[in-house]
């Protein structure tokens, strides 16, 4: 596992910059679809009920590991756009300290024009995914206090 030397904010800025190159919705979605396709599949054994994020129309799994004080997230989904979106979250939040994950504001979602995906109505469950990731981080902090 490569160590993430960037802070959450630095990765967010990086993504915002990448997305600023797109002026059409299609380019954005093509990029997200590409991300989804490139995100490695999660081991079938890790697609457990515990790892399943509820509140998504498609199935989403998030696996959490703890290494050297950082949380490592791995994710998968049966829908490719959802997989791309969760891939963005993994890129930002994985390999970071639990406290930083809990505190992350994740303003990049709005900045890249994906805010509509944060509405509770959106079936992709971006809100549910973020909650799931932060909840894992919180639990980890509590278990260590």
């Amino acid at each position: 596992m490569e160590t993430n030397t960037k802070s959450i904010q630095e990765t967010e800025n990086e993504i915002v910059e990448e997305f600023s190159l797109f002026d059409e919705w299609m380019d954005k979605y093509e990029y997200i679809i590409e991300l989804g396709k490139n995100l490695p599949d999660l081991d079938e054994k890790l697609k457990t009920e515990d790892n399943k994020v509820s509140g998504c129309q498609s199935q989403v799994w998030l696996n959490t590991k703890y290494e050297n004080g950082n949380i490592i997230y791995e994710a998968d989904s049966d829908a490719i756009i959802t997989k791309g979106l969760v891939g963005l979250l993994v890129r930002v939040l994985s390999n970071q300290k639990p406290r930083d994950i809990v505190d992350a504001k994740l303003g990049f979602i709005d900045k890249i024009g994906m805010k509509e995906h944060l509405s509770p109505n959106r079936a992709n469950g971006l809100v549910a995914m973020i909650k799931h990731m932060k909840e894992n981080a919180k639990q980890l902090i509590m278990s260590r206090e």
Partner: protein, 407 residues
């Protein structure tokens, strides 16, 4: 092509003039809810501007006006579905409440351990869960009519399920996910020959086909106002008078009583016995306006035009590579549920939304049905009389574009 002028009709629906994501709205989510004609919107404005008051027993001018409008709405519904009497029309919130009312009153009173209730594989959750809850409370069992690969009820299997344990049958007239029109007349006749009452979930039927509850001879029929171009929060439960009379009340409160004392309360006559509390007066008036609008178009003309749209849409969609239409019943209402290759319905729906096309994706509140087909859900385009062949062409192009992006 019939003389039905959808382009002209579209002008009656203000929301259809909207642009979504910079593109003209193509609204193909009519099985979830329909859009409202100006006549319905105006009726609500008029009610709140000129009539608003609480119904029944008010001595003042406005209360009488509101009561008259509310009761006139009931008569409009009665006429629309050809019920014998206005007393057989109970205003409820929607189909779901109608079904829950029957399961909680007729069901609780008449079913006991060992009895059986029959529904079909095609049902919406709201025609499954209320009966499951009734089974939990009474010890009755739920029996499921199987379907074939086209998404049609297997009538012979239904006949096998009917035994002397069967005490109630509740089936959808038209499937919300697939559009299948069920052989409800045959089901009712067979059930009645065994003295079993039948309820029809009419949520997807009233807006597509002529409903005559006396001709169908169903014992209960429920539908929702918002699926037939009326407001949300208003619906109808029709019940044959002899059943409604014998049923205990559902909810307690004002309006549903004759006299209240701490010793003994007596209940009101039909249909008020089932309408506790201030009803949705505005909703009932909006619903009547919607039914009048549909009656003016002529439900038979609507059915004919929608059928043409369905045939055209099905043909065009099948020209798309790897297109799989789920639900290919011989008798179908204007619903095209589909999957493209290995793409996930959610992905297709998201991209169609970007192109201004509103469809629904997912299991459509019919998980058992999706499990039958072993699919994670479908993309569902449900068509109404204000949709056009041009819009179908746009859908086909958009699906092809989504397909290219997702490959």
């Amino acid at each position: 092509m019939s003389t039905f002028d959808a382009e002209k009709i579209r002008m009656d629906f203000p929301i259809l003039q909207l642009k979504i994501n910079g593109k003209p709205l193509v609204y193909f989510d009519n099985a979830a809810t329909t859009q409202k004609p100006q006549a319905v919107i105006d009726s609500l404005i008029k009610y709140y501007s000129e009539i608003n008051s609480n119904v029944h027993r008010g001595v003042h001018f406005l209360s009488e006006k509101a009561t008259n409008a509310y009761e006139a709405a009931r008569k409009t519904v009665q006429k629309f579905i050809n019920a014998s009497k206005p007393e057989e029309i109970v205003f409820v919130r929607g189909t779901t409440e109608g079904i829950n009312l029957v399961s909680n009153t007729y069901g609780l009173k008449n079913l006991k351990e060992g009895d059986e209730i029959i529904v079909s594989t095609l049902e919406h959750h709201s025609n499954i869960v209320p009966w499951q809850m009734l089974c939990e409370r009474t010890g009755a069992k739920l029996k499921i009519i199987p379907i074939n690969k086209k998404g049609e009820i297997i009538f012979d299997e239904f006949k096998i399920l009917v035994t002397d344990k069967t005490k109630f049958v509740s089936v959808a007239y038209i499937s919300n996910s697939l559009g299948t029109i069920n052989p409800v007349k045959k089901i009712i006749d067979y059930a009645h020959s065994n003295n079993i009452p039948v309820m029809l979930d009419g949520a997807q039927a009233v807006q597509h086909t002529k409903i005559d509850v006396r001709d169908l001879d169903c014992d209960f029929f429920a539908f929702s106002g918002h699926k037939i171009y009326g407001p949300t929060g208003i619906g109808v439960l029709y019940g044959k008078e002899k059943f409604l009379e014998a049923m205990p009340p559902y909810q307690g409160g004002g309006d549903m009583i004759k006299n209240v004392s701490f010793e003994k309360t007596t209940y009101n006559d039909l249909p008020y016995k089932f309408e506790a509390g201030t009803p949705n007066i505005a909703g009932s008036i909006g619903l009547a306006a919607a039914l009048n609008y549909v009656s003016d178009l002529g439900i038979d003309n609507v059915a004919k035009y929608e059928h043409e749209l369905l045939d055209y849409g099905t043909k065009k969609m099948l020209e798309i590579e790897d297109m799989r239409i789920i639900g290919t019943a011989d008798e179908k209402a204007s619903v095209i549920s589909f999957l493209v290759g290995k793409t996930h319905p959610y992905d297709v729906g998201t991209l169609l939304d970007q192109l201004g096309i509103a469809v629904r994706t997912g299991v459509h509140c019919t998980e058992p049905l999706m499990n039958f087909f072993k699919i994670p859900g479908t993309v569902r385009a449900s068509l109404a009389f204000y949709n056009t062949k041009d819009e179908i062409d746009l859908l086909v192009k958009a699906v092809q574009r989504a397909q290219t992006m997702l490959l």
